[in-house]
């Protein structure tokens, strides 16, 4: 009897304790005037993101959000946006969808962020789409090439950033079709939407059945020798890789030790040369000749004014962290977000931001156009090809744009724009 009463008491007291803890932190975020926009005051805009900062998936990706934050700090130091400073709350979800649920709710419900920016990962971010929609939180520039972000009717507040994997597959396959005609093309993809969508793009261009050997891998099995062995046995000459960086390095390394030579065509996701070279160490020369895709300025192109700007910001506001493709990516996201805020006007609301993104017309570091419109919420719509020569990854040929359906792969000829003099966009 006594014990049971105790147990009830314990339960009740736990709940009371939690409630008390909640009470302490419960009264923030109520801006002036009552009907204020969440996360926006006269002096501040609070934005949040979820990123893998720890765990096996964090390699490389953990550098994106700090770079974005560094760009915001730079803008803040230059007076902010319409007099408001941007506060960027970075939450670690370890690439675990269950954690994403928690941290995104914390950002939206407790920290009362104005928007979620650049949340990373397909499985992680898919799980919070409905929550963000029902809370009317702008869900901007999701960091993944899944096609799920482009559903304006179902998720009006969600917008992509990366070119989707099908677009990329089509462009890589076009290269194979025109420059490596008649050679046997094979495909290795991750066993999820990344690999599947990419293969759709490749077959869209080459024709169904034109890919001689199709293999998949799962991230929980770090031995790709069976797959590479199958390519070798089939005599593949060209291999398209829809792989994350670790598995790109692993695949090319495995091929080298099995004595299998091929022309590698690598997805943007897994084709950042500094990342791969770092992982391969002394074996990095095997990456020579690898063809990849990208849609942002190349991080080693020191003549590019965007790279000069981002390098400077990286020095001043990011503790001079190693500068690579992820840094460029993070800062480009920051630049686009600042452009969006400016376009939304001084009287900032969530609706105005969404309208501003849908209106589109953003010119920034990207080499290809952003596709935003009322009917299209996907991000960049193309790629430019790059090749590793003499240990340096650099662009060659024109940029291409295409869509995720059966549209043609066209050259995109508009000249890239230069950044504004002080590195902060102005109202266009």
């Amino acid at each position: 009897m006594h014990r049971l009463a105790q147990r009830g008491l314990a339960i009740a007291s736990t709940i009371a304790l939690l409630a008390a803890a909640a009470g302490c932190s419960g009264d923030d975020g109520s801006g002036p005037g009552g009907a204020a926009v969440p996360g926006v005051t006269d002096t501040e805009i609070v934005v949040g993101t979820h990123m893998p900062l720890t765990g096996p998936a964090s390699a490389g990706y953990s550098k994106i959000a700090p770079a974005t934050k560094a760009y915001f700090d730079y803008v803040n130091a230059n007076g902010g946006v319409h007099g408001r400073k941007i506060t960027y709350k970075i939450m670690d979800d370890g690439y675990n969808p269950a954690n994403t649920q928690q941290v995104v709710r914390q950002l939206v419900l407790q920290d009362k962020v104005f928007a979620i920016l650049n949340g990373l990962g397909t499985p992680t971010h898919s799980g919070v789409l409905d929550f963000l929609k029902s809370n009317r939180v702008p869900d901007l520039f999701v960091a993944s090439g899944s096609r799920s972000w482009d559903q304006p009717d179902k998720y009006p507040g969600t917008f992509g950033f990366n070119p989707d994997y099908t677009v990329e597959g089509k462009i890589l396959a076009t290269y194979a079709k025109t420059n490596l005609a008649g050679q046997k093309v094979c495909f290795l993809g991750q066993d999820d939407d990344f690999g599947r969508d990419s293969l759709v793009g490749v077959e869209q261009v080459l024709g169904a059945g034109a890919v001689a050997v199709k293999q998949t891998y799962v991230t929980s099995n770090t031995n790709v020798a069976p797959q590479i062995g199958a390519f070798k046995a089939a005599g593949c000459k060209v291999v398209v890789l829809a792989t994350v960086p670790g598995f790109t390095a692993l695949s090319i390394g495995t091929a080298a030790r099995l004595g299998f030579k091929a022309q590698w065509l690598v997805s943007n996701v897994g084709g950042d040369h500094p990342t791969l070279a770092k992982q391969l160490g002394a074996a990095a020369p095997i990456l020579e000749g690898m063809v990849g895709t990208n849609y942002l300025p190349m991080q080693n192109d020191t003549a590019n004014p965007w790279i000069q700007l981002f390098t400077k910001i990286n020095k001043e506001h990011n503790g001079d962290a190693p500068f690579d493709g992820n840094t460029v990516y993070g800062m480009s996201v920051g630049y686009l977000f600042v452009q969006t805020l400016l376009a939304a006007g001084k009287d900032l609301t969530r609706e105005k931001v969404l309208q501003a993104v849908q209106k589109g017309g953003f010119q920034g570091p990207g080499l290809v156009p952003l596709r935003f419109s009322e009917k299209d919420h996907s991000g960049y719509g193309g790629h430019r090809l790059s090749r590793v020569t003499g240990g340096v990854q650099s662009y060659f040929g024109p940029a291409y744009e295409t869509d995720e359906a059966d549209g043609p792969v066209k050259e995109y000829t508009a000249a890239p724009v230069a950044p504004p003099a002080n590195g902060v966009p102005t109202v266009s």
């Binding site: 490389g60 099995n221 790709v224 020798a225 069976p226 199958a230 030790r257 992982q279």
Partner: protein, 292 residues
């Protein structure tokens, strides 16, 4: 047939590493009746020490030796500073402490070295030598087989022939009697932890160059495979660990080569069930003594 030979050799060379790692688990289980879930993280920590030393001196072999020494010391440290103070009344307590160690070690490694992959060099070429058009063993595979062969036979000799090995066995199986006979049971336990951790570090040094690279989580998947191998072989049996490791390595290679890599976890479960339903104590369990 070519493919079969290729997959077999590929499976054996990975299986050899699982075997070494499973052996480390068996060593601790026999000495302390603890499944050391922190084995993987401890081995990675030793590998990071080796990385630092190799990077500073430019010598792979110095790093290799330092990794094993670091593994030995870390094992002794974990036993003396942590595990010794854990209440072993419930066998779950050491398991939870080991899981806590995993979190702590991986987080500290992440803080010190960052969560990026680091290149792990192999001391010999990993390019396979071809015999009759079929890629067979690489020099590195031979190195792995030789190293693990030396470790397994060395341990077998130690436990069977040397006084210290016999004392360790006695301390593990009958601690009270051993203590009465003047065996330093606590010291033997620490020695067991150190040895196991040293073997684990060695296995990590061998396997990481064949994986994605050095990373705080580099041994997570290897741990799962090696634990499976130890269970299949029987946790009380060092030969069982070796056989279990090779069996698991072959199975993973055949399944991902012939059926698809997404089926490998299922294949591992089927193997475990097939073995344990027939022999609930693993392949090499001592026969049928009823243990209560």
């Amino acid at each position: 047939m070519d493919r079969f030979v290729f997959l077999t050799i590929d499976g054996l060379s990975r299986g050899a590493v699982y075997a070494a790692f499973a052996l480390a688990l068996v060593l601790i289980w026999r000495a302390a009746r603890v499944v050391n879930f922190a084995q993987g993280a401890m081995a990675v920590a030793a590998a990071y020490v080796a990385y630092t030393v190799s990077a500073a001196t430019g010598s792979y072999w110095l790093g290799f030796v330092v990794a094993i020494v670091a593994g030995l010391l870390l094992g002794a440290f974990v036993d003396r500073v942590v595990m010794r103070h854990v209440d072993h009344a419930s066998p779950l307590n050491p398991v939870i402490v080991a899981l806590g160690l995993v979190l702590l070690i991986q987080a500290v490694l992440g803080m010190v070295y960052g969560n990026e992959f680091r290149p792990a060099e192999a001391p010999f070429s990993r390019s396979a030598l071809t015999v009759g058009g079929v890629a067979v063993l690489s020099p590195y595979d031979l190195f792995v087989f030789a190293t693990i062969g030396v470790v397994v036979s060395g341990l077998a000799w130690m436990f069977a022939r040397t006084p210290v090995g016999l004392r360790m066995r006695a301390a593990a199986f009958a601690p009270e009697v051993s203590r009465l006979l003047g065996v330093n049971v606590g010291g033997m336990l620490t020695l067991g932890w150190a040895l196991a951790s040293g073997v684990g570090a060695l296995a990590a040094m061998l396997v990481i160059p064949t994986e994605l690279g050095l990373h705080p989580h580099a041994m997570d998947l290897v741990f799962v495979s090696a634990f499976t191998a130890a269970v299949v072989g029987g946790l009380d049996s060092p030969p069982g660990a070796v056989v279990g490791g090779l069996v698991v390595g072959l199975l993973l290679s055949y399944v991902s080569g012939y059926a698809g890599s997404d089926l490998t976890p299922l294949a591992v479960l089927v193997l475990l069930l097939a073995v344990l339903l027939v022999r609930p104590g693993g392949l090499f369990a001592p026969v049928a003594a009823r243990r209560v």
